[in-house]
């Protein structure tokens, strides 16, 4: 591009701010969104967690917190891949003995850790790791004695969950509430006999003993906060997927905006061409403008993205999906990447739009009323066909995916590819819509005045204009429906399976097993622990149960749950299919804390969504979870939930199982993408309507009243909304059917009618608002002036 075109591009931008406002807003939002998502990704990659409890120990030895597996890379080399464990792996006492005998080691401080209500419980033995010191009172000795931290607000002599406070420490940790028991009592409560969670070594250690890992410096924080480690992995995958999705949506939106602004400037650009600018120069000018707008919008957008990223992080922390002490990483990388990708998207979008322009002969474009060219160019046909084929392939692939981790990004991609196909073939869709809706509008015109007639004629005369506003509207409806209803479909299927499978039993979190069994009216009690296991490196949600057919019906498809006990495992149909095993086969798996187990498949069941893909015997998993309390399933047909709650011992409350924060996190993040598409809708419609100022003025001069003009615009908008709702719903339906077929086994998605009505209503309201406001504004200018100014 020559300096002449650049200088010209700057001039044009200065002169025609309005025409670029739409592209500017779209690019600004895109930059912010991409930057925020990349910030999450970077926080996942590089976010550090400072040690708190282990801060006073120079070296910490603990078990390996990863599952490791050698993977053949195919070219003869092997690579060890590691995945974080979902439960803490504990260290055998024998390793501690080895440490104590190691030359140069002066002292070894052991620790156990377990949840105690909202506190984290430890034995007083580990106070030296931080170090904690007693401010008032004394260390705990008896089983019912505890020491609380300085923040607890409890005085010596107070009571805490059946324990007596005998001491208060001088310290408190920033992100955890600590309670110390006597060493012996803590070991029993932790539920890992003969094991410790970590050992601090003074004054330091050169290398880890056999079967253990050495943590020093910041690494100690990663060991201390294993949930932060899992959250980081989640942030990496979610940040990546979100950034990709937002970039795709951004490209789509920006292409649409640029196409519209170039269509509106057709005459001006054709004029340039007519005064002997070469097509390459015109393209260069348009590309130069795009680069400028991209930079102008990208810089503040990416800066705003930092704020958005911090807000997202704070929201995830509030939802409990990310630990508060995982600090967000702020660095120039996401900003630069967002800036580069927006500028690139703008440039590509402008070049695509300009292609269309330079195919038109200048004379033609200069014609007073350029007639919409009726033929769809060949490349649109080809691109449309390729995209339709891509959408079909992705839908088929999606219908075969049965893990949420794999299905979620593919679901978004499938909906996007279908939407792009609709956008590319937009003029065809618009023409079809005009064919169907036109007569309806004209019919409305016969009854209610000329507005319907005018709207029908406008649609017929310029299906291309309709096509331009269809893309963002369809995108918004398709994305919103897909995001919302994939969650409801999963939730409904899981809830249905769990409800059907628990046989009307009551769930009592944290209740005592023996006491519940002795309650009058109780027929059967099942203990349930929620955890996860890995087959190889692949993670599966699991439950560990004391199986009783009176409380639990897994929907057995093959094999039998009779005699389910030590050495048995049951798998969901999805898991069994993926592993290629059936009843009677031996499987090897890794429990949540890394302990390997070899089990025999007893049964294959259908209710994997409700209960998890893997069902283990309770005894097997009991010693290998961080929170050994779990839930009771109580079958008591003669008792109501209230009666049971009143009678249930311990902390039990009849409540739903704790809801995972994951769907909410997905809603928040994907909600941003929905908001972005909504901005694109407003943007495009406002641009399209403002571009019609002259046309509306001409109508006014011909004797059309304001009301008639506004009614005409409203009817046209409703036609666009109707078409996009149909197209968007169809896209969402196809995508959700494929998603459902893979995830729940049923191709019928669960769509709450009220939610759907809300989506449609919101789309219509947004579209009407985005056209009515600019239409009213342009009607405010005196018609005679508006006409002569053009």
């Amino acid at each position: 591009m020559s300096t002449v075109t650049i200088r010209f591009a700057v001039r044009t931008l200065r002169g025609r701010k309005g025409a670029f406002a739409g592209a500017f807003v779209a690019l600004l939002c895109a930059a912010a969104l991409v930057c925020a998502c990349l910030m999450l990704l970077e926080t996942g990659l590089r976010g550090a967690v400072a040690p708190e409890r282990y801060a006073g120990a120079p070296a910490i030895v603990a078990a390996d917190q990863y599952v490791r597996k050698s993977v053949d890379k195919g070219d003869g080399e092997t690579k060890v891949k590691a995945k974080p464990l979902s439960e803490r792996a504990w260290l055998p006492a024998s390793v501690v003995e080895t440490l104590r005998r190691t030359p140069g080691v002066a002292e070894v401080v052991t620790e156990v850790t377990f949840p105690f209500g909202t506190y984290t419980g430890h034995g007083w033995e580990s106070a030296g790791l931080t170090p904690f010191t007693i401010a008032r009172g004394r260390a705990p000795r008896a089983d019912d004695e505890v020491v609380v931290d300085a923040r607890a607000g409890l005085a010596v002599g107070a009571r805490l969950h059946g324990h007596r406070v005998v001491g208060v420490t001088a310290q408190a940790l920033p992100s955890q509430d600590t309670v110390f028991f006597s060493t012996a009592r803590a070991r029993r409560l932790a539920g890992h006999p003969g094991m410790v969670s970590a050992a601090g070594v003074f004054p330091g250690l050169a290398r880890a003993p056999e079967g253990a890992v050495l943590y020093t410096g910041q690494e100690r924080g990663r060991l201390e906060f294993l949930d932060a480690e899992q959250a980081r992995v989640k942030l990496i995958s979610m940040g990546g997927a979100l950034a990709g999705t937002s970039l795709l949506v951004a490209v789509l939106v920006v292409v649409g905006t640029f196409a519209l602004s170039i269509q509106q400037r057709r005459r001006e650009l054709a004029m340039l061409w007519a005064v002997a600018a070469t097509p390459a120069q015109v393209r260069g000018l348009v590309g130069g403008e795009a680069l400028l707008v991209g930079v102008l919008a990208g810089v503040p957008g990416a800066a705003a993205g930092i704020g958005l990223g911090l807000w997202l992080h704070a929201t995830f922390v509030a939802l409990g999906a990310t630990p508060a002490n995982l600090q967000p990483v702020v660095s120039p990388f996401p900003v630069l990447a967002a800036l580069l990708s927006t500028v690139g998207a703008a440039w590509a979008a402008a070049r695509v739009s300009a292609r269309r322009l330079t195919r038109i002969r200048p004379v033609e474009a200069l014609g007073a009323a350029a007639i919409d060219d009726r033929r769809l160019p060949w490349w649109r046909w080809v691109a449309g066909a390729v995209l339709l084929a891509g959408g079909t392939t992705l839908s088929l692939v999606l219908s075969g995916l049965d893990t949420e981790a794999a299905a979620t990004p593919v679901t978004m991609l499938t909906a996007l590819v279908w939407t792009v196909a609709v956008a590319v073939l937009g003029p065809l869709l618009a023409r079809a819509a005009v064919f169907v809706i036109g007569p309806l509008l004209a019919g409305a015109g016969r009854r209610g005045g000329a507005s319907g007639f005018l709207a029908a004629r406008n649609l017929r005369a310029a299906p291309g204009a309709l096509g331009a506003v269809l893309s963002p509207l369809t995108l918004m409806v398709a994305m919103t429906c897909t995001i919302l209803f994939s969650q409801t479909t999963m939730g409904a299927a899981a809830g249905e399976q769990a409800a059907a499978g628990t046989r009307g039993a009551h769930a009592l979190p944290g209740a005592a097993f023996e006491e519940a069994g002795r309650l009058p009216g109780v027929e059967a009690v099942t203990r349930v622990l929620r955890t996860s296991v890995r087959f190889g490196l692949d993670k599966y949600p699991a439950q560990a149960v004391t199986y009783d057919p009176r409380t639990l019906d897994l929907g057995v498809e093959a094999g039998s749950m009779d005699g389910f006990g030590a050495g048995s495992v049951a798998l969901s149909g999805a898991a069994a299919g993926r592993l290629g095993v059936g009843p009677g086969d031996r499987v090897r798996l890794t429990l949540g804390d890394g302990t390997p187990a070899a089990l025999t498949v007893a049964a294959v069941y259908s209710r994997g969504l409700g209960f998890g893909d893997v069902t283990l015997p309770y005894e097997l998993a009991a010693g290998h979870v961080d929170d050994p309390a779990g839930t009771l399933l109580v079958s008591a047909p003669s008792l109501t939930a209230e009666a049971l709650r009143a009678a249930a011992p311990g902390d039990a409350s009849v409540a739903a199982a704790p809801v995972s924060a994951d769907p909410q996190v997905a809603f928040v993040a994907l909600g941003l993408i929905i908001a972005f598409t909504a901005i694109a809708v407003v943007n495009t419609l406002a641009m399209a309507t403002s571009g019609r100022a002259r046309e509306l003025a001409v109508l006014r001069l011909a004797g059309t009243t304001r009301r008639q003009v506004l009614r005409m615009v409203r009817l046209e908008t409703l036609a666009a909304v109707l078409t996009s709702v149909l197209a968007g719903s169809a896209i969402a339906l196809v995508t959700l059917a494929a998603f459902g077929a893979g995830m729940t086994g049923s191709a019928v998605p669960y769509v709450p009618p009220a939610a759907y009505a809300l989506v449609v209503g919101a789309a219509a309201a947004l579209a009407l608002l985005a056209t009515a406001v600019p239409a009213r504004l342009s009607l405010r200018t005196r018609s005679a002036e508006a006409v002569s100014a053009a």
Binding site: G703, A784, V787
Partner: protein, 243 residues
């Protein structure tokens, strides 16, 4: 009632305070029914404002405008639109046809907007008179400039209005086509008894009128009956020098 339009002491001031510009100053004039009037004047003399005020497109700052005996002052925007639709026809320099509508739809648009029926014979009569037979189904983009202006004239005539206003109706046309359009306007006055008021800067166009009004600095400074292009041009030069 022999006057189609009557302006009494009409002034129009744009802006306020020190920046205020008076476009019309106390203009009083009556346009007789069945006459062809041309309004001329140098740029900035208030021609367009005169037309807009007379046609109810713009409200005067003071004074009274009566269209066929109806006082326009105090009318709301919707009332004015409906009045214009029934009693005023417009022909613009830029044609201002609706590109989405074909010839017949454009011509009958005012009737349709008013919710009135279209009399087939009346429509055919007008199309024949303006010379658009056989073009009924064409869209504006498929017509030449002259043809488009004929559609605009037909649209102005369809409601049998009190007055047809022309704002430089031949400004965008070549000499030959312009002459055809002017002849058509002349014929509308002579044959149909229509009243036509036309703003123009072209002495040749003005020579087709019965009367020429000369505006300068917001005032009517002169009028001329039975104009010829030479006399009009001479008077205009005088105005320019006088200004």
């Amino acid at each position: 009632m022999t006057e189609a339009v009557r302006l009494d002491a009409v002034s129009k001031v744009y802006g306020k305070g020190q920046g205020a510009v008076a476009a019309l100053r106390e203009v009083s004039v009556g346009i007789p029914r069945g006459s062809f009037t041309a309004v001329m004047g140098p740029s900035g003399s208030g021609k367009s404002t005169f037309l807009h005020c007379a046609a109810g497109l713009d409200a005067p700052s003071s004074g009274s405008v009566r269209l066929g005996g109806t006082e326009l002052a105090g009318m709301g925007e919707t009332e004015l639109t409906e009045l214009r639709r029934r009693r005023v026809g417009f022909v613009f320099q830029a044609f201002n046809l609706i590109s989405a509508l074909d010839v017949v739809e454009n011509v009958t648009l005012p009737l349709r907007l008013a919710g009135a029926g279209v009399r087939r014979d009346r429509l055919e009569e007008i199309l024949r008179r303006v010379g658009l037979e056989g073009r009924a189904g064409h869209r504006p983009g498929q017509l030449s400039g002259g043809q488009q202006q004929r559609v605009a004239i037909a649209r102005a005539l369809i409601t049998e209005p009190e007055v047809v206003f022309g704002d430089e109706p031949t400004g965008a046309l070549d000499t030959m086509t312009a002459r055809d359009v002017l002849r058509l306007l002349r014929e509308v006055v002579d044959g149909l008894g229509q009243t036509v008021v036309m703003v123009t800067h072209d002495p040749l166009a003005a020579s087709y009128a019965d009367t020429v009004l000369f505006l300068a600095d917001g005032r009517i400074v002169d009028s001329m009956t039975a104009p010829s292009p030479e006399r009009v041009a001479g008077r205009m030069t005088g105005l320019g020098a006088w200004k």
